[in-house]
């Protein structure tokens, strides 16, 4: 989803190739056999095929000047994106594997997990997560915050910078249009659970 937010916000068009989950799990997909690590998403740019969601984000980051203005900014953007990814992994584990048993603990821990991002955003005059301009890491963080707000609508109540950040990102015209599109709104965050 982060890649589609990025592409939408950058004014790009793309095609979605939908993989039916049951076919994937039943091993009926050729794609699964050829996928480098046996996983999706897959990204195709002409003849070029790429797997691994963060590799895709970085590729798009380089193409659309979303990777900072020098090597040091690039490194810091990598650093914060990896921090987002770490929390995303925790979230996925909770969301897909511990929904009934782990919810209370996860939500109790959540402020400690969000606090570093509150601090980073509060320290950055540009209002983005890192650097003077929007970077690919911002699309990662936005997605992470949106997912958390679905399961815990008040999780940003003590984090005014993250709340303002989310509002600012979602107000970007092209991104706003995409987030309000039928395609995006109809895409569930979980294959079967109604959240």
């Amino acid at each position: 989803r982060r890649s589609s937010d990025l592409l939408a916000d950058q004014g790009c068009e793309w095609k979605e190739e939908v993989v039916p989950l049951n076919e994937w799990h039943e091993g009926k997909c050729e794609l699964r056999k050829t996928a480098v690590f046996g996983q999706v998403p897959r990204f195709t740019d002409g003849d070029f095929i790429l797997f691994q969601s963060n590799a895709i984000l970085r590729y798009l980051g380089r193409k659309h000047d979303l990777y900072g203005k020098n090597d040091k900014e690039a490194a810091l953007i990598d650093m914060v994106n990896d921090g987002v990814e770490d929390l995303r992994m925790k979230y996925l584990r909770f969301f897909f594997h511990e929904w009934e048993t782990g919810k209370e603990k996860y939500l109790e821990e959540l402020p400690n997990q969000l606090r570093p991002f509150e601090r980073l955003v509060s320290q950055n005059p540009s209002g983005f997560l890192m650097g003077s301009n929007i970077s690919f890491a911002d699309y990662s963080l936005l997605d992470l915050l949106q997912n958390h707000l679905i399961v815990a609508p008040d999780c940003l109540k003590d984090f005014p910078h993250l709340q303002a950040y989310k509002d600012k990102m979602e107000a970007r015209p092209k991104l706003k249009a995409y987030l309000e599109s039928e395609a995006h709104k109809n895409r569930p965050i979980h294959p079967t659970r109604k959240v």
Binding site: N54, A55, R62, A75, D78, M79, G83, D86
Partner: protein, 210 residues
Amino acid sequence: MAKYTITYFPVRGRAEPMRLLLADQGEQWNEEVVDIQEWMSGKSELKKNAVFGQLPRLRDGDFELYQSNAMLRYLARKHGLYGKNEKEAALIDMVNDGAEDFRQKFGKFVWNEYETGKDKYLAELPNQLSPFERILSKNPSGFVVGNQISYADYNLLDVLHNHLILSPDCIDAFPHLKAYVAKLESRPKLKAYLATEARKKRPAHPKDKR
């Protein structure tokens, strides 16, 4: 006085891939060793100031960085270890992220199931190794991507080293992985580093009691 400083616990862990990279690239660095008990005590200033409360930390002069893969990418850009164009860079990222996933599975096993889950982990291991065998088999240069070494090679080598400690014959059925490890280990500067006391004395991870 070396300009790089690695701040970490006295283990290989998540700092070792960048040590392999720096050594192989002929760079020197300082080691700032952190006592684990002090780190966990709740009184560590270092931990409070760390962006995500974690180590390792890399310093390059005044510049400070956290997140081990961000460090690898930073050093890769400085040393020409990120492929020759955008597509190679993306493929290197892809393979590194696969190695990172593998490292995380290994880490989870070490922390949670080291005593109880060894048989299961080893039974699963060939499925984890085969994507990398396949990647190497498709690249005549013998590196994971492109014609020259990249930062992903140092990360993958380190993950393989961890597994060879656990099970010394685990790559015997994977000829490309076996050749890959031998080839990388024979690179002169890397070979010299692997023979140092510092490297030999450093446990791979806190449960490595050799």
